[in-house]
């Protein structure tokens, strides 16, 4: 059965099977973060404009990262690299900031607040795992 999958693969596409799982998690996260923050922005923008905007930006970047990881190839690879670095910087900077300037209400936080703690640290883990994978793929 696996041979069908192998036959379809070309040089430019991601060929590490496990990476498919990473892409799937990215897709779910992109969907969840974008829908949630989009809804928050539409209904409660004034409550926490900076955090909700940050969440929407991160959601849209997750979408771009999902597509870039799935596509592969030189251009998409560099886009993937850029988006993953952006995410890692985002979660680290916002995470650090939120340690010093905590938000009282959990509902008002962004995806990246407290290093992504309210999302099971997935926002911190995803770019790290993704960058490691991109590094491995680049060396082959």
């Amino acid at each position: 059965m696996a041979s069908i999958g192998n036959a379809k693969r070309t040089e430019n596409r991601p060929s590490m099977g496990a990476a498919r799982v990473l892409i799937a998690i990215y897709a779910i996260f992109a969907l969840a973060a974008t829908v949630r923050s989009g809804y928050q922005l539409l209904t409660a923008f004034n409550k926490s404009p900076v955090n909700y905007s940050l969440s929407l930006v991160s959601g849209l970047v997750y979408i771009l990262a999902t597509i870039a990881l799935a596509k592969g190839g030189a251009i998409w690879n560099s886009i993937a690299l850029a988006t993953l670095r952006f995410e890692l910087a985002g979660v680290l900077l916002v995470g650090l900031y939120s340690v010093f300037v905590p938000v009282a209400n959990v509902k008002l936080t962004s995806v990246w607040s407290d290093f992504g703690m309210y999302y099971g640290f997935v926002p911190l883990a995803l770019p790290v795992i993704g960058l490691i994978w991109l590094g491995k793929r680049g060396r082959r």
């Binding site: 498919r20 799982v21 799937a24 998690i25 779910i28 829908v35």
Partner: protein
């Protein structure tokens, strides 16, 4: 959200997720069993949707935000569909792992929905 049904749906999705992860890491391509378990996951969400609409029509509201609750529910409904489509397109063991991850993601979203409905954050 009816509490007993929430519990049933939650454990069903956790079981489906672990089942597919196990099959995937055993090297199995998506089969009738793993796809069926994701079918059950989707069914559990559809029943949740019908129950929720019925509750809201009777005047019940989510403690936190009813619209946000339904946004989560509708988003969750897309997840098993996407995972099964993926499994049909690419029949490798990793697609089975993706099925498992999808069911676990649905379980997490059910927990969030329960938080939004009851207003209780653990």
């Amino acid at each position: 959200m009816i509490d007993i049904y929430y519990q049933v749906a939650l454990y069903l999705n956790l079981a489906a997720g672990l089942f597919c992860l196990l099959l995937g890491f055993m090297g199995r391509a998506p089969s009738g069993w793993s796809v069926l378990s994701l079918g059950l996951s989707e069914l559990s969400l559809l029943v949740q949707l019908v129950l929720s609409i019925a509750l809201v029509l009777q005047g019940a509201q989510a403690k936190q935000d009813t619209v946000e609750y339904f946004a989560y529910l509708i988003t969750a409904l897309l997840v098993p569909v996407g995972a099964v489509l993926w499994a049909l397109l690419e029949r490798s063991k990793w697609s089975t792992v993706v099925l498992g991850v999808a069911a676990l993601a649905v379980a997490v979203m059910l927990v969030r929905m329960h938080q939004i409905w009851t207003g209780i954050y653990v």
